[in-house]
Amino acid sequence: MEAVTGWWDDYFWGSVIVLQVFVCSLILMVLFGLIGAAAKLSNNRFAQKLAAGYTVAFRGTPEILVILLLYFGSAITLTAIAQVFDPEVKFVDLSPFWSGTLAIGLIVGSYATETFRGAFLGVKPGSIEAARALGMSNFQTFVYVRIPEMWRLALPSFGNHMLSLIKDTALISIIGLNETLFVAKQAIGTTGKPFTMYIVVGCVYLGFSTVITLTVMWLEKYGNKHMESAR
């Protein structure tokens, strides 16, 4: 273990990056998932097709490929655009952090689209009619009835999506994001102790996923307290 000693602070900052990527991609994932679900449930043919294309494409390609394509694709595009304005520019890219975060947000968002769609469909039409009949507007009905009922239905799958997100951050090391796996590779280069260094990474990820799992369990318990029958 003494091989690790000099690397603790690198691992620490790597973990902070994992956490940052997780939080940002989580927000994007919810956003893409809600937009995708709304599009799929809308009456607009074009929106439906677009959302269907999105879920097929992102669920059907390897995640690591999406990360690579998005990073290099955006770099090529941005460089081309920049060269129009200033021919001296050699290379412009979206930072590994943001292109990686965007990539996994899009990937897991495509799964969340299906989860949210199913959950919205699972809300009993009776509650929605009751809200309408009481004179509540569509927006009020959405915020106070649809969302609170749908998140409970979505929660179990949503927990899995969060686990996917945290694990996918490791993939972003491939485009040079200095998260824990990236740190481990550097550490191995100087110490020649791959097993030890990877075990540390494993523990970091296991720690994060345990916290997520416990949070989801607590939320499920909280969300379903109305289901406990009277004693």
Partner: protein, 254 residues
Amino acid sequence: MTNIAPAASPETLIQMKSVNKYFGNFQALKNINLEVKKGEKIVVCGPSGSGKSTMIRCINRLEEHTDGHIIIDGNELTDKVKDINAIRREVGMVFQSFNLFPHMTILKNLMLAQRLVRKTSKAEARETAMHFLERVKIPEQADKYPVQLSGGQQQRVAIARALCMKPEIILFDEPTSALDPEMINEVLEVMTDLAKEGMTMVCVTHEMGFARSVADRVIFMDAGEIVEEAEPEDFFLNPQNERTQKFLSQILTH
């Protein structure tokens, strides 16, 4: 809001004139004409699929009628959304399957629309909610969730929720059909009390005892039409139409 010069007396709360309703090619309502005055209690009956629900759902625009006019308290139902929400808060509705919000306590169920639609203060909404929970005789259930209540209790909560909005009219769509027999009476009692206090009510129900004791008029529907409309006495003892006679003979022998 469009103010249609009322053809009937100013006391008319619901007026349906030559209303037709299509679902695709299927005509669910055929030339419906109905007038309900303030304080009147109307019972609507008829076989399953005859358009009873569709008719009362058109009154608060949960369904849109295809043509004809529906005028609620002087305001015609058109597709302007603002008007609709203003009208809906004057027209309470009680559903067959209660339709309480499952994620909220009973008290919150009663307070939500008061706060959002009537913009009442929290304290006032709570006070009104407790007042009506007492009226339906279950104030002690205020902090429970809907699943923790029996069907009869849930339906009484649903009635209280409608009353909290202080509506001019309450529509009931088979309020006791989903209940176990021993719970039917507790709901009918609450409805009878309401009727005695002068609430304007349109009730789709097959509870003929309730119709006899409470209704000013009974309406019989079949295949999307109003076939017969009469005072309860005449309706039960002396039905004019063959279809009404057949229907009554079927439900009264049970």
